[in-house]
C-alpha cells in the first residue's frame, strides 16, 4: 500500500497524526494475521515534496504489481492531480483526506474513491451549529488560508449563511498565505471589524500560530469564533482557548464521541496511540484509520466474492462499490458516485478537570445525508436552495451525548 501524507513542512502538523495512525492500524491488522492472511506493507510518501514529486512517486509505486492500493492524499491539490493519474494507471486509490468538493464535480472516475466527507457537508455543519447557538448573529468575518480549500470554505460559509440567514453581513474576508508565520495584522483587522462571529478553516501549523497570536490579544473573548478544524490543535494550544469556541472535526472522528467510546477497537486505538505518541489521536488520525479499516473491509468483501482468491486491482474496485462499513467513529458509506457519506460532529470547547486542555462539549452529530448534497447536483446550487426551517429538522447542539 502506498500511503501519502505530509511528513514535512507546516502541513506535517496535520499530516503526522495521519501517518502515526497508519502505523498503529497496520501493525494491529498485521498482528492479527493481515488481510486474508496477507501482511500489509506500507510505503509512506511525503507530500511535502510538491505535487510533481508526489505524482512521480505515485507512478513509480503503481508500476509495482505487488502494490495493490493507494491511500492518497492529504492535500486537495495533490488529490486533484493524482485522480486522473490513478484512472490512467487503473490503480485503486482511496482518498483518505482530500476535502475538495471539486474532486467528483466534473470528472467521473472508476478507480478513485473518497473514504471521507467533503468541504460542503463539513462547512455547512459549522453554519448550522452557529445558527443554532447564536440565532441573532448580524455580522461575520472570515479568515481562511489562501488556496482552494480556504476559498471553497469561505464560499460555502457565505452561501449557507445567505440561504439560512440572509441578513448577516460579511464585514471582513481575509485569505492569508498558506504557511504564514504571523497573523498579527489580520488579528488587528478582525478586532477592528468587531464581527459577531469569526469563521476560520485554518489548519496545521497555521491554526496553531493563529491561536497563539490571537488568544493573548483577546480575539476569542470578543465574539464567537468557529475553528472548523479546531479539534486537531486543542492538545497543543488548547490552554489558550476560552470555553465556548466552536470547534469541528470535519467528519465524525472525535476520540471521545459516544460512537468512539462504545467501540472496543477505538478505545484500544486511542490508548495505544496515546502510549506511543504521548498525545490523544486527533481527527486526521481517524480519517486515516477509518480509511484503512474501510480498505480492509473492501478487501474482505472482494475475497468473499472471489472465494478467497486474492483480488486483482479490478476485483478490489468492484468490491468498493456501494460499500457500507462501520468505522472507528461511526459509519462510512460509499455512494455510487464514489463519494463518501460521513456524519459531521461539531461542538464547543469546554474545560474538563480530567484533561489539561479543553475538550469538545455540547456536541451535535449531523447525519451525513442531511448535510451532503445528492450525487450529480451542483453543491453550491444545492446550498442556495436550503431553507431556514431546515434547522428545526436537525439535531440540536448538546444532543449528541
Amino acid at each position: 500500500m502506498g500511503i501519502f501524507t505530509f511528513t514535512s513542512g507546516p502541513a506535517a502538523a496535520y499530516g503526522m497524526p495521519g501517518r502515526n495512525a497508519a502505523e498503529l492500524v497496520l501493525e494491529k491488522i498485521n498482528a492479527q494475521g493481515g488481510i486474508g492472511g496477507v501482511k500489509v506493507k506500507p510505503i509512506y510518501v511525503d507530500e511535502g515534496q510538491g505535487t510533481d514529486g508526489v505524482v512521480a512517486e505515485f507512478r513509480r509505486l503503481a508500476a509495482d504489481t505487488n502494490n495493490q492500493a493507494m491511500i492518497a492524499a492529504l492535500s486537495s491539490g495533490n488529490c486533484l492531480a493524482l485522480a486522473p493519474v490513478a484512472e490512467q494507471l487503473k490503480m485503486p486509490t482511496f482518498m483518505w483526506n482530500c476535502d475538495t468538493h471539486q474532486l467528483f464535480l466534473k470528472d467521473k472516475y472508476q478507480y478513485v474513491y473518497r473514504t471521507n466527507s467533503s468541504t460542503v457537508p463539513e462547512f455547512i455543519a459549522s453554519v448550522l451549529y452557529l445558527l443554532s447557538v447564536n440565532p441573532n448573529v448580524k455580522t461575520a468575518a472570515i479568515i481562511n488560508p489562501d488556496y482552494a480549500f480556504g476559498r471553497d470554505a469561505g464560499l460555502i460559509f457565505k452561501e449557507t449563511l445567505k440561504a439560512l440567514k440572509p441578513d448577516v453581513e460579511i464585514v471582513a474576508e481575509l485569505y492569508p498565505k498558506l504557511g504564514s508565520p504571523s497573523f498579527n495584522t489580520e488579528i488587528s483587522r478582525l478586532s477592528a471589524a468587531q464581527p459577531d462571529v469569526i469563521f476560520s478553516n485554518l489548519w496545521g501549523a497555521d491554526l496553531e500560530n493563529f491561536v497563539r497570536q490571537a488568544a493573548p490579544r483577546q480575539l476569542f473573548s470578543r465574539g464567537k469564533v468557529i475553528l472548523a478544524l479546531g479539534e486537531s490543535v486543542l492538545q497543543r494550544v488548547g490552554t489558550l482557548l476560552p470555553e465556548g469556541v466552536i470547534v469541528g472535526v470535519i467528519g465524525d472522528g472525535w476520540w471521545k464521541s459516544p460512537h468512539a467510546q462504545a467501540n472496543a477497537l477505538t478505545r484500544d486505538f486511542v490508548e495505544s496511540y496515546r502510549k506511543r505518541y504521548n498525545e490523544y489521536p486527533v481527527f486526521p488520525s481517524f480519517k486515516m484509520a477509518n480509511t484503512l479499516y474501510a480498505v480492509k473491509a473492501i478487501y474482505e468483501k472482494a475475497l468473499a466474492t472471489n472465494k478467497d482468491r486474492w483480488p486483482t486491482r479490478e476485483d478490489l474496485i468492484a468490491a468498493a462499490g456501494n460499500l457500507k462499513t462501520e468505522t472507528l467513529t461511526g459509519t462510512l458509506e460509499l455512494r455510487p458516485d464514489h463519494d463518501g457519506l460521513v456524519d459531521q460532529i461539531v461542538g464547543v470547547t469546554v474545560k474538563d478537570p480530567a484533561y489539561p486542555f479543553p475538550i469538545m462539549g455540547q456536541m451535535v452529530r449531523y447525519p451525513a445525508r442531511a448535510v451532503t448534497p445528492p450525487a450529480g447536483i451542483d453543491p453550491i446550487a444545492w446550498i442556495a436552495k436550503l431553507k431556514p426551517d431546515v434547522l428545526a429538522t436537525l439535531p440540536k447542539p448538546g444532543s449528541y451525548k
Binding site: 507546516p10 471582513a172 508565520p181 495584522t185 496553531e208 490579544r217
Partner: protein, 298 residues
Amino acid sequence: MLSAYIPLVVDGLADAALIFFVAVGLTLVFSVMRILNVAHGSFYALGAYASVVIGIWLTGRGGPILGLAALVVSPILIAVLLGPLIERTLLRWTYGRPEALQILVTFGLFLILEDAQKLLFGVQPYSNAAPMQIFGISQIGGIVYLNYQLLLIAMAIGVAIGLRLMLKHTRIGKLIVAVVADQEVAQTLGIDSSRVFILAFSLGVFLAALGGALASPTVGVAPGLGSETIVLAFAVAAIGGLGQIEGAALAAILVGLTRSAAIYFAPEFQPVAPYLVMLAVLLVRPYGLFGSVGLRRI
C-alpha cells in the same frame, strides 16, 4: 478618522521590525563580502529554533524572566558557532569567483541547513509564547496589542542606530568601512581583511538569528521558516539598494506598511504586496532606493 489608521501603522511597523533584522544582516554581508547569501534565511530559522529550545529550558529552571535571556543568548551562540566556521570553510573558497557559483554554494548550504533542522528538531512546529506574555498588553485605537510587539519596533530602531554608530565610531566599524571602500588599499595599510570578513559575516549571522529569536515567541517555528524569510529579505534588500543599512530600514517599513494596508483595504493583494513595492521601486530606481551604480558604500 485619523485614529483608524493608527492600528494599521502599528501593525505595519511591527511587521517591518522583524523583516528589518534579517534584511539588514543580508545587506551587511553583501556589502562587505559581495556575496548574496541564500542561506541567510536558515540562520533566521536556526535562531528561532535555538531560542525556543533554550527558552523552554531556561524557563523551566528560573521562570519566564530567565527564559527571556534565550532571545539574546541563542543568536550569540548561533553566530559564534556557525559564523566563523562557515566563513572559513565554505565562503572563503568562493571569493572572487563567479556570482553564479557563490549563489550555488550558499544555496547548497541552505539545503543542508534545512535538512539539519529537520534532523535536529523534527517537523512539528515549536513554540514558546512565555516571553510575549510577560510584557502584557496595551490598547491602541481600540485594538489589543501585545507590548512585546511594540518592544520589537523599539529593538529594530535600536539595532539600526547601533549598527550605524558602530560603523562610524568604533575601530572595528571603521575597519569594515575601509575594507568595503577598497579591500586592496585596506590590506596595504595593514588591515587584516580576512579577520574583517569573519567578523562581518558573523555579525550578519547574529542579526538574522536575532530576528528569528525575537520572532519565535509570536510565530510557530516549523520547517519552511527559512525559505519564507529569505525571499522576503531579498525583496527588502533589493528595494533598499543592496548593501544599504538605511535602505534596508526604509524598505522594511515600506513593505511592512504596504502589507498591513493591503490586509486592511484589499486583502487579496497581501501575498504580493512586497513584490508590488519592489516592482514599483525598481522600475523607477533599478538599483534600489539608496543604491547607485558602481559605488560601494555601507
